[in-house]
Symmetry: D5
Subunit: 179 residues, 10 copies
Amino acid sequence: MTEPRGRRDSLISIARQQQNLASLDSSIVDRLPSYSAALFEAKTQKRLTFEAIAEHLGRSEVAVAALFYGQAQASPEEVVQLTQLLGLSHESPVASQMMGFPDRGRAGPMPPVEPLIYRLYEIVQNYGYAYKAVLNEKFGDGIMSAICFNSKVEKEVDENGAPWVVITLKGKWLPFTRF
Amino acid sequence: MTEPRGRRDSLISIARQQQNLASLDSSIVDRLPSYSAALFEAKTQKRLTFEAIAEHLGRSEVAVAALFYGQAQASPEEVVQLTQLLGLSHESPVASQMMGFPDRGRAGPMPPVEPLIYRLYEIVQNYGYAYKAVLNEKFGDGIMSAICFNSKVEKEVDENGAPWVVITLKGKWLPFTRF
Amino acid sequence: MTEPRGRRDSLISIARQQQNLASLDSSIVDRLPSYSAALFEAKTQKRLTFEAIAEHLGRSEVAVAALFYGQAQASPEEVVQLTQLLGLSHESPVASQMMGFPDRGRAGPMPPVEPLIYRLYEIVQNYGYAYKAVLNEKFGDGIMSAICFNSKVEKEVDENGAPWVVITLKGKWLPFTRF
Amino acid sequence: MTEPRGRRDSLISIARQQQNLASLDSSIVDRLPSYSAALFEAKTQKRLTFEAIAEHLGRSEVAVAALFYGQAQASPEEVVQLTQLLGLSHESPVASQMMGFPDRGRAGPMPPVEPLIYRLYEIVQNYGYAYKAVLNEKFGDGIMSAICFNSKVEKEVDENGAPWVVITLKGKWLPFTRF
Amino acid sequence: MTEPRGRRDSLISIARQQQNLASLDSSIVDRLPSYSAALFEAKTQKRLTFEAIAEHLGRSEVAVAALFYGQAQASPEEVVQLTQLLGLSHESPVASQMMGFPDRGRAGPMPPVEPLIYRLYEIVQNYGYAYKAVLNEKFGDGIMSAICFNSKVEKEVDENGAPWVVITLKGKWLPFTRF
Amino acid sequence: MTEPRGRRDSLISIARQQQNLASLDSSIVDRLPSYSAALFEAKTQKRLTFEAIAEHLGRSEVAVAALFYGQAQASPEEVVQLTQLLGLSHESPVASQMMGFPDRGRAGPMPPVEPLIYRLYEIVQNYGYAYKAVLNEKFGDGIMSAICFNSKVEKEVDENGAPWVVITLKGKWLPFTRF
Amino acid sequence: MTEPRGRRDSLISIARQQQNLASLDSSIVDRLPSYSAALFEAKTQKRLTFEAIAEHLGRSEVAVAALFYGQAQASPEEVVQLTQLLGLSHESPVASQMMGFPDRGRAGPMPPVEPLIYRLYEIVQNYGYAYKAVLNEKFGDGIMSAICFNSKVEKEVDENGAPWVVITLKGKWLPFTRF
Amino acid sequence: MTEPRGRRDSLISIARQQQNLASLDSSIVDRLPSYSAALFEAKTQKRLTFEAIAEHLGRSEVAVAALFYGQAQASPEEVVQLTQLLGLSHESPVASQMMGFPDRGRAGPMPPVEPLIYRLYEIVQNYGYAYKAVLNEKFGDGIMSAICFNSKVEKEVDENGAPWVVITLKGKWLPFTRF
Amino acid sequence: MTEPRGRRDSLISIARQQQNLASLDSSIVDRLPSYSAALFEAKTQKRLTFEAIAEHLGRSEVAVAALFYGQAQASPEEVVQLTQLLGLSHESPVASQMMGFPDRGRAGPMPPVEPLIYRLYEIVQNYGYAYKAVLNEKFGDGIMSAICFNSKVEKEVDENGAPWVVITLKGKWLPFTRF
Amino acid sequence: MTEPRGRRDSLISIARQQQNLASLDSSIVDRLPSYSAALFEAKTQKRLTFEAIAEHLGRSEVAVAALFYGQAQASPEEVVQLTQLLGLSHESPVASQMMGFPDRGRAGPMPPVEPLIYRLYEIVQNYGYAYKAVLNEKFGDGIMSAICFNSKVEKEVDENGAPWVVITLKGKWLPFTRF
């Protein structure tokens, strides 16, 4: 069952390359539009990170990942750019499926069971009323839009060298209309 | 049923002062620790915003609001500062109740029904997997901590004068331990 | 157990007057802000319809009813006008409680069990995707705001004399921001 | 990976044509009758909007979209008209499947997770009791029918050029029978 | 701990009289309008069956029981008749509370946990689609109204002397409007 | 795209014939035993109503429809009669599958989302306690059996020519055993 | 803080006497009819086990406990016997409340969270289909009645001296009626 | 459509033979291990009841049925005996799949919708606390094990010839450990 | 609003003493037996940690905390010891209430919303099947008892001085009985 | 149907070997990543326990089982080692699928229905608040990490020869950040 060390090392190094890329768990495929699987597969094939794709499209990483999960819409220009980048044929059904209006919100169960996503949910659970109170005092009676909205993710490293995630949520303030 | 204009105006102006202050809906009181109602009442009495209280305590507005909703713990120093600021007696049960370890997460129902809080939940619902994919590619296999965590709320005004909310979520990255 | 006809008739006529007025079921009181019960009681006392109050305040009937259920905010001017109209003291806690930011969405259970409200829910259930498809084709990728929103209720009578309800929902179109 | 500009532009322009058309997310297909997928596919192929189809059939856009989602029944005449318009064979199973009585209400999850549909749900959640109170005062004890019902969607543009959605819900008033 | 037989027999006979009357379980009181408890108490006091009350009011037993549970509205005449029959003062809050529009559907949990009510639910669960299929074939595409509706309960005894319940549900047929 | 009128009319008349027959929505197939689809298909093929089949088998329409949905058991004689009537081979798996003991209750979701079935559910929700109270007074402490049970559906036309549905539920009364 | 040994021992022996008696957790009281609390209190006061009460009434222990939890009805004779045994006044509301028809099924949450009750639920979860299959083969298509039903609990000790619980469920077999 | 009487009778008699055997509803197959379908099919083929199989294996009928539903484990000896009895090849995947540790509890939904299984659930719902109270008084603080457990089903016929089901649940008593 | 420094410091030091003690959030009180509140109050009054109480009773800290939350039973000796330690009267209802059999499992909602408790739940969610697989291979087909069970909590400090929690769950292995 | 004893014994002994190995229930496959099925199959083929695999990889048994269920990530080295050990080709999709970031938490339903996993859940349900109280007193306001976490399973045998399971949960303590 042993193998020559060289062979082994090269296998490991191939594996390592793949490991830095987000892919799609097969058990989630049915909850997503059919083009999701195709996009992720091509992304893995091309060894592209979301950062690279986002730069290519001139959009935010979060938006591009959302697009892969069927939670955002690509413009016609982006569909062309993306299929080219990923090496997908323009006649492939992927391109035309991406033209549809996204049917959002079904990617994962709520409450989330994935630990990373659950932490975001927990922030809403614990601090939801605190955000509401602070926003009401600052802006009046209304909401922060999740539609007229953008978001970004950044990495910071503290003085001890420990990495921190910084997620920025930016949404237009919409006051309740008086009627 | 009419009243002299002066009297009316002064009533309106009193009302207006109160309106900028977050208070506690009576129907939520049972879900919160008993000191919440007392803190909010005193805050209304003293006409204090969370911004003012936060500045006084040297903490973030979000944390202070969370503290009022029983979702964060005050240090002994802060309890003393806060009761003084709000004009509550040091012997009042409020002070000693605030000493307890918070029993978090029960302030509101999930999924949230309050429109403002729902929008935050919807962001998690729509972009949860996108955040996960981007964070995994940037940091590896792990989560953003919601414990070793801080948050702030800012107001921005765009070129058309429209206000935008900027919520920053900052949490330490915790990689899954290999065992 | 019988009573003189006159006495009976007058009792019936008193009853009839009350019957045209929406009041508050005691079993729902705990789900609403504490001022709701006071407002409804005063409204019954004064024999005021929502139509009459709405006209007095210069607002829509739907908004005024929402305000009574704690789902909308009154301006300081309206609080003064309303307490005067309903004969409530300006010092009563009702006035000051109405100053709070509404904590919306908890008035009734979802799915609704009340037949009238269930019918509205059923419309969303049956026609939700149809509205989405039509709106997407007419406006693009986005949503109809429920915040920057107004609504009215009208009565129409058809050629057979049968009454029809016409509910108008009008919301600003918000396109998803590209980011 | 680059392509001549002309080729690219023509790809984009093809994409743009498709983008104005509502299509069917593959992940929803299993919740709908089998003819839904066929109808949507043919609609995309023929580049038809619901507006165009509705005009052809002499019905409302909302009803036609509902029909595509299996939430409304087509008359025999409409089935013939529709299959002709969409270029489907009269012997195709689609035609005969559309003859069945609709099995309504399963198109999407409730509470809705799609942001556009959620906004409609939220209107019911927030204003449900307000509608009930106003309707009871205007019509008595009863409901607005969701069966003896029609609905339309219109676009309005305000003085600032911003688009607004106007959804009209019109249902017969049904008083509770006294028995 | 023993008692003279005569005393005991008379206690038993008093108990027996009460036992034929439906009363209100204290644990359900909070789910019903506040007049429910008062009506049931008076009914017990007066030893009245729903049959007797229904006959007095000229309405169906089911409707009268529904009225006691806050699921149906009494006309002003009936309120007067009922309060007289039950010996309640016309000035009692009961009379005026009964004037409100019923807030239906919250009397018990769904799925029902009460065995008798569960059996009715189970009939809908098991035979729901069968009823739909038969009704569609007999009447077309539509529903049986639960609003323009009446119901009665009868007792039949079979040839072996065993009692059978016969519940009749009668509702107007409402065809879906074509729009 | 136009066709000769004669061709069109004949298409419409074929469509019309099918429209009076209940069929099976493809999205419900997985919730039913596998013979359901085969029975419904054959029924459509043979243009048989449940009324016709029920008459042939000497059973109630409701029971026969329930049998098609896998909610009732056919006797061996009925299986033979039914497969003959529907033109199914006796060796087809359908016949032998129908021999199994029904696994009831999974045909549709509860609460029902289909409007027709929901109305029946709503009757239980609104009148459940009323039925219980009336039945308890008439029969004592017990339940109406949903097993030792039969049901029928009838059509009545009122003096204005409007159709009414009459559903009769008849179940044996089962008193709680004293133990 | 120390006490003389004799005093301590007598305290412990009093405590020990109480410990063999089932009592009512205060957090469950609201889910039960109001007489439950009174019955349990009197039972504790009189130091009576369910076994002793059951013997006195000539009923099964399980039925008597069910009666205390409002899940079974007492006959008039039993009400008299029970109130005498427990030392309750015949005029106490307890006696008359026990005359009502039980409103069953709300004593605890489902799925049960109490470990002992959960084990019974788990038996249904794991063996439910096994029971169905065996019963269908033994009796045909039908159910075991939970109404025409009795149950008992026995203690057995195995050869190693370990105690075993034996619960017997005995219900009449009800075949589905053919209609 | 008629057939010769003899042919018909023989068809009926074949059908009758099958009817006494529990089989597997196709809509439940996905919730069970893959060997379940194979076992049931072979059982039907061989016309074996659970009673016959149980006798062959020297186990209880309930356990054997549970084994078919993937809720119990067979010993290696039993796997061999069972595959032989059912005429399955020893190399068939069935044999090796049965070697796995059962993944219990997913056979049916909870609350159960099947009427027979629901009745068992209802017994737990109604009598759960009664069992707990009686068991606590008889055994102390603990539970009846559902693991160290066995169960049997018997048929009794009462003096009127009516059949009764007797289900015995026998589990070891486990006292809570003091720690 | 300022105070002399000395006064302030002494207030802070009083506060600090309380902060190391677990107390009871008022919003959870209704879910617990009534003695819980009394025990926690006395514990706070006496400034006792669970560690101190556990040592006094000779039991594990976890068990003692469970006892305070109504999730474990105290022996008669412990009740006497505990009431003495906490300075509660032996005649207080607390002592006699603690004699009841615990009604476990209702202290908090499931899924837990409290972050600390959620993490334990998440471990079960993520590693549940892993534990099952490993335990099955090590012990066969069975379960780890949660009744015949004990648990302890320890603190470890790693080489960087960071504290770690070590929770040990120890339960008897119960093999499924063969029957 | 009988077979020679020798043949039978050898069949049994083959079966016995398989029985000590955890395998994958086919009904759970869809909830897991696609490589799970392949890994389990190979493990069964190679007759490897998790203990053996864990030793080979130098990791804990629990982590390895979690890895098989898609709940943990393997390093590139481990992927190579594992595929070699299991005899899977390095080019098989399994290897590359294992490179993905785990999508945790969906292996089984919550609340768990599997008895073994349910017991762990029950421990959280019953002792959750006890753990919180003890941890808060020992460590302050914070949580035990489930990410910076490891776990092991051990077997102990008590003085009577009965086996006990010891599960150790070890997580880093994370204090809530003050902000």
